[in-house]
């Protein structure tokens, strides 16, 4: 089969992959107002009432929110530095964060995590779950 037939077929396959992925993403999108932390549901107000507030400087200005390390300690995990923490967004995006980084990070009222001096790829937004690994 020549390129003149193969290339349109590949283009069709690409479009089918894109469309079917879009349908899947839409169907599996998580929309909720609470954050699941190790199986327990917390509202953002509850999270703010549990842990200390911290302000950090980022290249997008100052960000104020709940200190992530304090949140984990207050929720009651034994060896906090023995674990990594997976932050999951409603759109399926997730990042695994080490304890060292947790000690510098904040979770803001709009449910986004920030860290100073790090790539924005770590700034997961619309947090729906925090999993301890």
């Amino acid at each position: 089969m020549g390129k003149d037939k193969l290339i349109p077929i590949f283009a069709m396959i690409v479009l089918i992959i894109g469309i079917s992925s879009a349908i899947y993403v839409h169907a599996t999108m998580v929309n909720k107002d609470t954050i699941t932390i190790q199986g327990e549901e917390y509202t953002i107000d509850q999270v703010f009432s549990i842990a200390q507030i911290r302000t950090i400087k980022t290249d997008e200005g100052e960000k104020t929110g709940v200190a992530l390390d304090d949140l984990i300690k207050k929720i009651g995990f034994g060896c906090t530095s023995c674990h990594n923490y997976v932050f999951k967004g409603g759109d399926g995006y997730q990042q695994t964060i080490s304890w060292d980084l947790m000690q510098k990070g904040v979770l803001t009222e709009n449910r986004k995590i920030y860290f100073p001096d790090t790539a924005h790829a770590l700034w997961v937004h619309d947090i729906v779950e925090i999993e301890v690994k």
């Binding site: 390129k3 003149d4 290339i7 349109p8 590949f10 283009a11 690409v14 479009l15 992959i17 894109g18 469309i19 992925s21 879009a22 899947y24 993403v25 599996t28 290249d59 997976v86 759109d91 399926g92 995006y93 997730q94 990042q95 695994t96 964060i97 080490s98 980084l101 790090t118 790539a119 924005h120 790829a121 770590l122 700034w123």
Partner: protein
Amino acid sequence: MNKMKLFAGIIVFGSLWGFSECIIGSSLADAGLPTGAIMTGFFALTFLVMSRMFYRQPGMQLGMGIVAGGLRLFNPFVACHICSALAIMAEGAIFELIWYKLSFDFKGMKTLTMQGSMGIISAYCVFVGGYVVTQVLTPIIAGSGFYLENLIVFMPRILSSGLLPALVGGFILPIILLAKNLDINISLKDRYYYPITAGISIFCWVFVIGNWFLLS
């Protein structure tokens, strides 16, 4: 082709691509438009295909990606600058791979179907490939480490996000290829070619870096 002339071409097209990513991309993001789709489907594809059309040299688009990504690093005001710079560099390399077996004179792309199809494939693969590369490399560079499970669960989102750039690319490539008929000649006399390419490149870099200083 004279290597110096090719080098100047890589610098000028890479700078234009980087400039559009930094300055136009920033404005598109502020306006709430799908920046990634427009930047890859329209701007990146235009610069990549036009440079290939005019210079007909292998490796040029790879070099352009490095230049454009380098320039993107100087404009950290739109989203993740390390991610974007890595994505741009990867996009140049992926485009080079996709078009590796295709002739430089675009002889195989006479029909609109072929042109549109190549636009779809190029824009989709370049966008998705760049996205995947940045998802792998950014956490490593940021020091938090790469976790395969994070990429796997996010893959449907990445694959779906390539749809819009693909549609834009499928529409835009046949239009770009109309430039073939313009018979644009890059064999300007050296005394014009080098000052023009240097002038455009310097403008792009000065504007982007100046923008960085003004905003910081």
